[in-house]
Symmetry: C2
Subunit: 172 residues, 2 copies
Amino acid sequence: MKHSEHNDKLCPLAQTLGIVGDNWTLLILRNAFLGARRFDDFQQQLGLTRHVLTDRLKKLVEHDIFKKVPYGASNSRFEYRLTQKGAALSPVLMALGSWGNQWLFEKEQQPMRYTHKTCGAELQMTAYCTCCDINVSSSDIKMVTGPEIETLKKSLSPQQLTQALGFMPQSP
Amino acid sequence: MKHSEHNDKLCPLAQTLGIVGDNWTLLILRNAFLGARRFDDFQQQLGLTRHVLTDRLKKLVEHDIFKKVPYGASNSRFEYRLTQKGAALSPVLMALGSWGNQWLFEKEQQPMRYTHKTCGAELQMTAYCTCCDINVSSSDIKMVTGPEIETLKKSLSPQQLTQALGFMPQSP
DNA sequence: GATATTAAGTTCCTTTTAGGAACTTAAATA
DNA sequence: TATTTAAGTTCCTAAAAGGAACTTAATATC
């Protein structure tokens, strides 16, 4: 059974992974954030095969993460540009990059860091509560399930629920 | 050419993706955060084939994201528990989940949200500067390259640099 | 104390996806 | 007009994933 056939339509994380949860796709997005726009740019920078790139770009356009914009006086050459929805993925890439910086390299040997333009200090990703205007540590985060999952919880046993969702909505 | 053969040893994001940048791996981590510990738990919850699960767990243990802890009076049954390094991936999963919540569902139809325990409001991922004690918007973030990439910049043309790295370290 | 069941993998086979290189077609450049 | 470039497509091979049955030791049950 492929996971996409699973009933995890109710997990935003799984849904997101269904769109961008792929090595090449995330590297394509990285390069897009760094300025790449054209098919051959992505292909040469990343060294992936052309038909895989075709496939991934198509998928990203279908999901409105890239928009395909013609350039020049042509109708057959295009730039792939991040949409607002695509640009909103930057916290994902930053979280991945920051983790790599912190856990895969020695301090002082980090090859590339995200820093605060003003002071030069390294940034870290954190959860922020707009309501309270504070950053929230993981012990103060609660996962709240919506009405659909609540309904399932009432009608299914814990095991059936897990089977249906592909995950356990709450820690045991 | 497989991307892992690329010389992107100098990109923390690419390095991280080499470890966890895989659909199943990230779903395994999701379920680990929600309490799954044992081989068959992961297998039944996710529905992935057993040898793929074996492979992914092995890789995660090798990279010190899970530790394999025997349980019972046995030396052949194990729990896979997140290490500190593994637990530090939670911003990655939250960033993915938050993006999905915001961009793949209508408000009020989000199946599951990350909320602030105290006030119940939904959280968002943001970059935080420990030095200035403020959250930093993307326009105030600067990517700074370390000494190794700076050396490459001096000895290679932009195109050679891109070939060597697999990406352009700065926007054009 | 024998029997059945569970847990954690392995093995084998088939299907799908990815890698590699050459080919196509139209557009921009020389 | 001839050449190169851009954006794919096509074809073939290699690697990875899906599916199901099999193994081996450890618990649990009778």
